[in-house]
């Protein structure tokens, strides 16, 4: 039976298990939108294409499914760029479909034409321009396969209008075989054996866990490994929800704004096991002084991450689910050696307790002004264990990472690699669309919130009851902090004095707005906000010049933390 390209696209989406897509119509996708009305796919209309991509991103991060976004050609497609780059840096499985001018017009500077293939080449795992409707089904199948396998990532499919209108016999391929793409999923048994020996010999081990553990859903296997050998665990921003801070072996986050004890542990360790992490510069500080006494085992599904920044003693390429299982399997056969190892690493765990006691994660509380860290602690206290938290980017993001204890995987959604302001609200939108019944909280600063505030309309239209916490210090906080510490408090263009009435803004869209200006009002506002149905903005006027500490200044080593300002 013959189907048009646009019907074939929608059939393929259904076959791939897609039930929700985010997008914004336009001239070159009008056929798709017309046929969409005949298909059981829910479409969420955002108010900007960047938000559509961030929403698909948030949807993917919390559900583990491939996020799908649609935009029209030209400016619609170029508006998706920041969203795609955000997903690329954090390895999120997504398929972004962009309309394109008809094939005979490509390259002619046609109306609303943009070379999206060229523009997205460096920020996608792969991209396709569909020139013949006969290739469409195969390309969509390949796009989803590439997006979700190996190290996940965004794939762009550029679909010209005439290809959408042309028709052909629809056949969905049963299998995918790409000869240039064969990821390796199982760890080499010899490497596993060596790793076991190194783990048993280590007296000061640290497990360094990154986004790979979140993407591969291996928090259980991780917990098993850590407890088996009693190894302390530190996580990056991206791996945070895989290991709860309240666990006795948890060191919290490491790196530029990590805890004192995590950074000291890494600096003094004799074995660092990197699990789905990539030794990003926010984590390592000065590479020359990073983990100077440690042997390094690096477990990752992507060989390019290994030995890219840091010398590695034992690389293991594979899917974390397999490799961690292989490791615990082999270790479970060495019960005698394990008890010896655990005994000999006891002084190490005691040293860590000492470091924890010397410099716990803390802030100066106040009775007169609202401290942002206090708000975050209160939000954690008053929300459900499985509440999903998204953040924007800046000081509030770091305070969330420091003071919010995540206990369930896939509950922390934040832009780590690219650090995109404007990510929090739309990604919360996407997360709420994935789980309409769960609490979804977006923690934001006053600067970041204004980057995609138009999405309040989407929240209200689709009844997505996201609760937005705005920590308002009338500053571009993180940059202001750097200006204070390194530029003599020359606050160039970081002061946003204009007092915006966020309550009026919320009500303008049909949402609820609440505000707290004194510490004693905080709990009340949070309670009320969480109870109120529908989307809510909770604005907190917080201390203006609070700093995120500890801090490892740029170019310094992890052991050169600034602890007080």
């Amino acid at each position: 039976m013959k189907k048009t390209g646009s019907e074939i696209l929608l059939e393929c989406l259904v076959k791939e298990g897609v039930d929700t897509i985010f997008g914004y119509p336009g001239g070159t996708v009008i056929n798709i939108y017309n046929d969409l009305m005949n298909y059981p796919i829910k479409h969420v209309l955002t108010r900007h294409e960047q938000a559509a991509v961030h929403a698909a991103d948030g949807y993917a991060r919390v559900s583990g499914k491939v996020g799908v976004a649609i935009a029209t050609s030209g400016p619609g497609a170029t508006n998706t760029i920041t969203g795609i780059a955000t997903a690329y840096m954090d390895s999120i499985p997504m398929v972004i479909i962009t309309g394109q001018v008809p094939t005979p017009l490509i390259g002619n500077d046609a109306f609303q034409e943009a070379d999206i293939m060229g523009i997205t080449r460096p920020i996608t795992k792969h991209n396709y321009l569909v020139k013949d409707v006969k290739d469409l089904a195969r390309i969509i199948k390949q796009a989803f396969y590439i997006a979700r396998t190996g190290r996940p990532g965004p794939v762009v499919v550029d679909l010209p209008k005439d290809v959408q209108i042309a028709s052909t016999k629809f056949e969905y391929p049963e299998t995918v075989d790409i000869r240039g793409y064969k990821p390796n999923y199982t760890g080499n048994p010899r490497q596993i054996e060596k790793a076991v020996k190194m783990l048993l010999a280590a007296k000061k081990p640290v497990l360094y866990v990154g986004g790979g553990a979140t993407l591969s859903d291996t928090s259980e296997e991780l917990g098993k490994l850590a407890e088996m050998i009693q190894a302390p665990v530190t996580t990056t921003l991206m791996g945070m929800a895989c290991f709860p801070k309240r666990h006795p072996l948890s060191l919290g986050m490491l790196g530029m704004h990590g805890t004192y004890y995590a950074n000291m542990a890494v600096t003094n360790s004799d074995l660092l096991v990197a699990i789905g992490a990539r030794f990003d510069d926010r984590v390592t500080g000065k590479i020359a002084t990073f983990a100077p006494h440690a042997k390094i085992i690096h477990i990752d599904i992507d060989p390019t991450s290994i030995k890219k920044n840091v010398r590695v003693d034992l690389p293991i390429v594979g899917d974390l689910k397999n490799v961690l299982a292989q490791l615990t399997e082999k270790l479970s056969q060495c019960t005698l050696e394990i008890s010896e190892t655990v005994a000999s690493s006891e002084p190490w765990r005691e040293q860590i307790l000492e470091w924890k006691a010397q410099h716990p994660m803390a802030y100066k509380p106040s009775k007169t002004v609202i401290k942002p860290q206090y708000v975050i602690e209160k939000v954690r206290e008053l929300t459900n264990e499985d509440a999903i938290v998204t953040t924007e980017v800046g000081q509030h993001q770091m305070w969330t990472a420091q003071f919010f204890d995540f206990t369930k995987p896939r509950t922390f959604v934040t832009s780590g690699g690219l650090g995109t302001m404007g990510f929090g609200l739309p990604s919360a939108l996407g997360a709420q669309a994935a789980f309409p019944e769960r609490q979804v909280i977006d923690i934001s600063g006053d600067g970041s919130f204004q980057m995609n505030s138009q999405e309040l309309a989407t929240l209200v239209q689709y009844r997505l009851p996201v609760k937005i916490v705005i920590l308002n210090n009338n500053f571009l906080g993180m940059v202001r902090q750097w200006q204070q510490l390194f530029f003599d408090k020359r606050y160039s263009q970081t002061c946003m004095e204009l007092p915006i009435d966020f309550i009026k803004l919320a009500e303008a869209y049909g949402a609820t707005g609440l505000r707290a200006t004194k510490p004693e009002e905080v709990e009340e506002v949070i309670r009320k906000g969480l109870e109120t149905p529908g989307p809510v903005i909770m604005e907190f006027k917080v201390a203006r010049e609070e700093n995120v500490l500890p801090m490892v200044p740029a170019g310094a080593g992890l052991n050169e933390m600034v602890l007080a300002s």
């Binding site: 060229g118 080449r121 240039g180 793409y181 390019t304 030995k307």
Partner: protein, 164 residues
């Protein structure tokens, strides 16, 4: 250190751009690059000469392998290989230097492919060093224009790469 690598890629639109974009995006340098289809028309072979230490080369090889369109990367640094390049050069050949030019062409087993009263255009194939050598000898006569193809490389010995 100079490295020559052969990259076998899908013969699809945009693949060359992808590979070159990878090099420029990550700050790897390309000294020369040639590409053409192989025995199988759906696969093209690129030969790239790049410069860098072992760590850089390892990163380049891994990043290339990561590309969906790249089927295989062959690093010839540690292997025995045959390397050949083609050059076309237009040399000034006035009355007093014409004979000398022809003698050099003869010594290097090159060919004259174009003649005018004042110039010769010469075709040379050989190892890149041979081409460097003949150019050095011809330089004093006056080189008007030069085009080099960049080297292509094949491993020595009985084994040959073909997709199955």
């Amino acid at each position: 250190m100079k490295h020559t690598i052969s990259v076998l890629v899908e013969n699809e639109f945009g693949v060359l751009s992808r590979v070159v974009g990878l090099f420029s995006g990550r700050g790897f340098n390309i000294e020369s690059l040639t590409v053409a289809p192989t025995l199988e028309s759906s696969i093209s072979r690129m030969t790239i000469v790049t410069r860098g230490d072992d760590q850089i080369l390892e990163q380049i090889t891994k990043q290339l392998n990561k590309l969906i369109d790249v089927i295989k990367v062959i690093d010839f640094t540690d292997e025995e290989f045959v390397e050949r390049e083609l050059a076309l050069v237009k040399v000034t050949a006035e009355d007093n230097t014409r004979a000398e030019v022809l003698r050099i062409v003869d010594i290097f087993r090159a060919n004259v492919v174009d003649v005018t009263p004042r110039t010769y255009t010469i075709e040379i194939t050989g190892a890149p060093k041979k081409i460097d050598a003949i150019l050095e000898l011809l330089r004093p006569m006056g080189l008007k224009e030069l085009v080099r193809s960049g080297p292509v490389v094949l491993g020595r010995g009985p084994k040959g790469w073909k997709s199955t």
